[in-house]
């Protein structure tokens, strides 16, 4: 039995004071257990980073410590699922979505086992930990795997709601989440439907389609632009696969221009998924894909990186203004 820091310990409180979002994952899983779902949680030596220590403390018989062996964790979770359990296994997105890509394909998706994969600290949210800990390719790898759902919640409440919704979802799911410091967008208990985008205002000039952490600054940037007389809407595309094609087409029909924003390489991610819909349907609307431009991110504290890559509200506002004015995008 692993020694656990209790949820009341000073270490846990210290961590949680920095990352208030840590509770959302465990709390949602605790609710699923209370509702009678056969949840088993597991992590690979990162229970204090993803907050699952709270779940482990409450249900030690439902928690599996895998140690630093992510591939074993994913495959074992698939085996576990065949015995009627619903495993939620979590580690850094860089390891889950890249190191474990083949285990996810072969053992989870191909075997059609209802494993819930939680890739946390995704994108460049691990800042100066560097490229090994950045995940700017995981949307691309995960959405190319057949029979795998991909969800990228934009805040803690939406994460909790998506976890709750996953209990009734037949396919395995890859959740791409931040590090628990995401600012709030939604109220606690907000409704979430897998595969349905959430629209924040309609823009005649521009619709921003974003997922994950950039949704909050995108809403803020749109607010500033609209206050200056522009017409900009935002779509929170929390489910990347299956993509809400109707929402994309509505935006394409309404707006002069579309812009996707993701904490991910602009190749293969949300922007590519949106571009595929536009191309499939013959939409001529201009699309600008904003994100990490096919490079390895610099290292810096995350907020510095978001400013540098123009993924914070002022940066998004600058990029959008340039697009709207027909000026070169300042990247």
């Amino acid at each position: 039995m692993t020694a656990l820091l209790s949820a009341e310990s000073w270490q846990y409180r210290a961590l949680n004071a920095k990352n208030p979002g840590l509770d959302f994952l465990s709390d949602a899983l605790l609710e699923l257990v209370a509702e009678g779902h056969p949840v088993i949680a597991g992590s690979a030596d990162l229970q204090y980073s993803n907050g699952l220590n709270k779940f482990a403390h409450a249900h030690p018989d439902r928690y599996i410590q895998f140690g630093i062996s992510e591939q074993n964790m994913v495959t074992a979770a698939a085996g576990l699922a065949t015995t009627g359990h619903m495993p939620f296994v979590a580690t850094f997105a860089s390891f889950l979505g890249l190191l474990c890509c083949e285990q996810i394909r072969m053992d989870v998706a191909y075997c059609a086992q209802p494993v819930r994969l939680i890739g946390h600290h995704t994108g460049i949210s691990l800042g100066f930990y560097g490229t090994s800990h950045h995940a700017t390719e995981d949307i691309a790898t995960m959405r190319a795997i057949a029979d795998l759902t991909v969800i990228s919640p934009s805040d803690g409440s939406q994460l909790a709601a998506a976890i709750k919704a996953s209990a009734e979802w037949p396919e395995p799911i890859y959740f791409r989440i931040g590090r628990g410091r995401d600012p709030d967008i939604y109220e606690r208990g907000a409704h979430f439907v897998i595969g349905k985008a959430i629209e924040h205002g309609a823009g005649e000039e521009l619709t921003i389609i974003a997922c994950g952490l950039p949704v909050h600054p995108a809403i803020e940037a749109a607010r500033q632009l609209n206050a200056a007389g522009r017409s900009v809407g935002v779509i929170d595309m929390a489910t990347i696969k299956p993509l809400d094609r109707e929402a994309v087409l509505r935006a394409a029909g309404r707006s002069r221009m579309l812009m996707t924003i993701e904490e991910h390489n602009v190749l293969g991610g949300l922007g590519s998924a949106v571009a595929e819909v536009l191309a499939d349907e013959g939409c001529g609307v201009k699309l600008f894909r904003h994100g990490i431009r096919d490079e390895y991110s610099l290292i810096a504290p995350p907020t510095h990186l978001y400013a540098y890559y123009k993924l914070d509200a002022p940066g998004i506002e600058q990029v959008a203004s340039a697009l709207l004015d027909g000026r070169p995008v300042p990247l």
Partner: protein
């Protein structure tokens, strides 16, 4: 037939009598012979296949499926069934005939082995083939999957045993050893790994490619109970597996290193390990069939 008679609760197991009778042994030998003959027949349909990998495992298949494992052919997802996973999924050509023989799938399905739309390919697919407990094909995953199954079975209060057949070349995959550590840490005592130690992989002798000896010491060092057995000695193999399944006191997972011969049963394959993947011309197939029919293993 695989039955529940050899389960831990059976009178014979309670009496700690795991010995195999002459008639049981004779019947199992016929089943191993059947595996080899069917392997030749099916690969004739595909025009290429893993003869010798299936031949080295024929006795292991026979002991498990016709004696040791508790199964219900009419209920392939029976929650209390014993599980079998193949790390060396490329030997599935030897398992499919057994599944058909036991009634998990119609015998006619075998006749379309590897043909368009048929569920049976070179590797086993749990979504397509009733009786397959987990898909495989990518070497090195199966022990992890088996460990997860064993953990889940214990958490559900079920007493089934999970058998995982591994290739000896598979020992070169790092994930195997991740699973080995995990199974020991979590005391997965209902997990039994069987290493088909036939000594060869695609590029040559395992010990010339990347050596794995001392193999039993490695598993022991990882905290596993280890048994070394002649993988073609059906009596010894069956008695050992019966005993391992019935042992409710064990606190560790078990590894059986089954010493086997690649291509066992056909002397020219035994002499030429290049038969890992191949195709028998009709006259060679006749020779092989004649030897399999005549030879006692």
């Amino acid at each position: 037939m695989a039955t529940t008679e050899t389960s831990a609760a059976s009178p014979r197991a309670q009496a700690n009598d795991f010995s195999i009778s002459p008639s049981e042994l004779a019947a199992l030998r016929e089943k191993a012979r059947f595996v080899r003959l069917e392997t030749i027949r099916l690969i004739e349909i595909a025009k290429t296949g893993h003869y010798s990998s299936a031949f080295s495992a024929a006795e292991i298949f026979a002991a498990l499926y016709y004696d040791v494992m508790s199964l219900r052919a009419g209920e392939p997802k029976w929650p209390d069934r014993d599980r079998f996973l193949m790390g060396k999924g490329h030997a599935a050509v030897g398992l499919f005939p057994i599944l058909a023989d036991l009634g998990f799938l119609a015998k006619e399905v075998l006749d379309g082995y590897t043909r368009l739309g048929n569920p049976l390919g070179d590797h086993p697919d749990m979504r397509k083939v009733p009786g397959i407990d987990f898909s495989s094909g990518s070497i090195g995953h199966a022990l992890s999957a088996g460990a997860g199954i064993a953990w889940g079975g214990r958490a559900s209060g079920r007493g089934f045993t999970t058998f995982v057949m591994l290739g000896d070349g598979e020992m070169q995959e790092g994930q195997v050893w991740e699973a080995a550590l995990f199974a020991t840490q979590h005391k997965l005592s209902r997990l039994v790994a069987i290493v088909d130690r036939n000594g060869y992989q695609l590029d040559g002798k395992v010990d010339d490619v990347i050596g794995i000896e001392p193999l039993t010491d490695k598993w022991r060092a990882f905290g596993w109970e280890v048994h070394d057995v002649d993988g073609h000695d059906l009596a010894a193999l069956t008695e050992l597996l019966r005993r391992l399944k019935a042992d409710g006191a064990r606190q560790t997972p078990v590894c059986v290193v089954a010493r086997t011969i690649k291509g066992k049963g056909v002397s020219y394959m035994e002499a030429e390990p290049g038969w890992h993947l191949g195709y028998l011309a009709p006259e060679d197939a006749e020779l092989a069939i004649a030897e399999i029919m005549a030879r006692e293993i």
